[in-house]
């Protein structure tokens, strides 16, 4: 469980996150909102790239904000970025192994763990092929494999379906859904694809202009009047 209380982030006059308190209970949780709502900033706070002005984040009973950024991977934090970060010059295997070896996982199980993660996301390409030669869908799957290798406790997926055609997000949704049960990690999914969010997430939180406007079971949240207004605007305008 991840508890966020009174989180505020300020960048010189702008407040991308404004006094947000929210609980991610477990399983796969959605985090949605229009562009500029503060979703990626929130991920950056969790990753340690952005220091909040005030607030606390307790992840599985530990104070996350006290940890140095690069130590959070060892603790069990994994994330993907909006832009692709799989390293093109490295093979699929090396891409995933790289996360494994810096996250404090045991060396003896590296080969098996890495191959299991590649298999888990359903990548059929040869693990020794270079990531630069893969298609967009496969490169996304490499990123998800990087996020689930080792023993992650929290997986942050930042628009994993961005740039993928609709027919290819189905498999991705299935993989994301299986993460909590098979990998044992809490997943927070940021995406604009509402079909993907409804398919994967039991609960969803909605940000708009840095404020939390709704959170709860996904179906309820998506019917919420404020959420619809935030996404579609109001008629008076």
């Amino acid at each position: 469980m991840i508890e966020v209380s009174n989180l505020t982030v300020r960048f010189a006059g702008v407040t991308p996150i404004d006094d947000v308190s929210v609980v991610f209970p477990g399983g796969t949780c959605g985090l949605i909102g229009p562009n500029g709502a503060g979703k990626t900033t929130f991920f950056n706070v969790l990753s340690g790239f952005v220091r909040p002005a005030t607030g606390n984040i307790t992840a599985f009973g530990e104070n996350l904000l006290k940890m140095a950024d690069y130590r959070r991977a060892r603790w069990g934090l994994r994330r993907t970025f909006q832009t692709e970060m799989a390293v093109e010059q490295l093979s699929i295997f090396d891409n995933v192994a790289m996360i494994h070896e810096h996250s404090g996982a045991k060396r003896a199980t590296r080969r098996d763990d890495v191959l299991r993660a590649i298999e888990f996301v359903g990548l059929r390409a040869n693990p020794s092929s270079k990531v630069g030669r893969l298609g967009a869908r496969e490169r996304r799957l490499v990123e998800v494999a990087r996020a689930v290798v080792g023993k992650p406790r929290m997986v942050l997926l930042d628009e994993p379906a961005a740039g993928l055609p609709e027919e290819e997000t189905g498999h991705l949704a299935e993989v994301i859904q299986r993460i909590p049960e098979h990998i044992g990690a809490l997943v927070i999914l940021v995406d604009h694809d509402m079909a993907l969010v409804s398919a994967c997430c039991e609960t969803t939180a909605v940000l708009d202009f840095g404020k939390l406007i709704a959170s709860g079971p996904t179906a309820e949240v998506l019917r919420n009047e404020h959420v619809i207004r935030a996404y579609l605007g109001t008629e008076e305008l």
Binding site: S47, G48, F49, D69, Y70, R71, R72, A73, R74, L77, R78, R79, F81, M85, V87, E88, Q89, L90, F93, D94, A97, M98, I99, E101, H102, S103, G104, L115, N126, P127, S128, R146
Partner: protein, 351 residues
Amino acid sequence: MSPIDAYLQRGVAVRAAVAVALLVVAIFVLPAMSGSDWITTYTSVAIYSVVALGFGILYGRVGLISLGQVALLTIGCWIGTRLAYATSLPFPFLLLLAGAITCAIGVLVGLPALRLSGLYLALITLMFAGATTVVLSVTDFPSGNHGFTGHATTGALTTSTPPVRRPSMAVGDTAYYRYTVIVCAILFLIALIHVATKPGRAWATIRESEPAAIAAGVNITLYKLWAFALASFVTGVAGCLLAAQVGVPRAITFQTQDSLTLAATALIGGIFSIWGAIIAGVFNQLLPFLFQAQWGLNPNFLLIIFGAGLLQVLLTAPGGLVDQFPKDMANLGRLLFSGFRKLPRERRPQK
């Protein structure tokens, strides 16, 4: 055997076979068919390949541009020279010490890289190269005589300045060339092992994106400094090899702009591949020798050629010659092959 193991073993076997074949040619074939001036040039090629290797590790692997690599070579050379005058240590120890001290200095130079990258880091390392040149000419490098800081009383660099000693097993030029090739091969092997294992993967991730590397748990401070340490160590060892090759190194032979030429030739050779460094060494040392000693041309023309070559590489072949040449050859082969195949068909009488 799983496909990945099979791939790894096949890849390693092929590369090892190529490397061993190259070494055999370099150690046995080349000296047998070349005169003594050629052999000293080959020694320089081997030494400068290692300097290009250091540049390639920093820029090709981690994305840190350092224009001070020849300055580090100079420092390694200076340390090697002074240690040779001051101590009676066996030559391999001189190599290791020169490597270790240059490594420490290189890490200091690398400290700004933790904050800076791109143009700013390039500028700072170039300033460092300039500063090295200034310090060495002011202190009258190597100023002859015995002891670590020894100054000759009759003015520096007389004919009586004793040359830096070579290893007792490799006093002659040919023997010293072979010795140099073997030491350089070991340095290349050390770099290869780094690139293929944990540090290499961490460097590739840092080069891709620093935030992604941090999110992946990579201690980027440690791995950036590690890259500087490795590049400086191999360059320092190469500097010590150079000291014993030339015997009496002179400050005038080390110019600030050599670092720029080295960066250009390293890019032309190919910075993403370890093999590109060897091509860079050939360009940097063999071509000037050919121009000056063999063809009677002014070697300064090479700067123009390197400039044009660099432009071409940056625009059309970012992987450098080592990446582009095989592709060009394959294309040429395909062209020729399809030409041969088409020819009879076209000549066939139409019915």
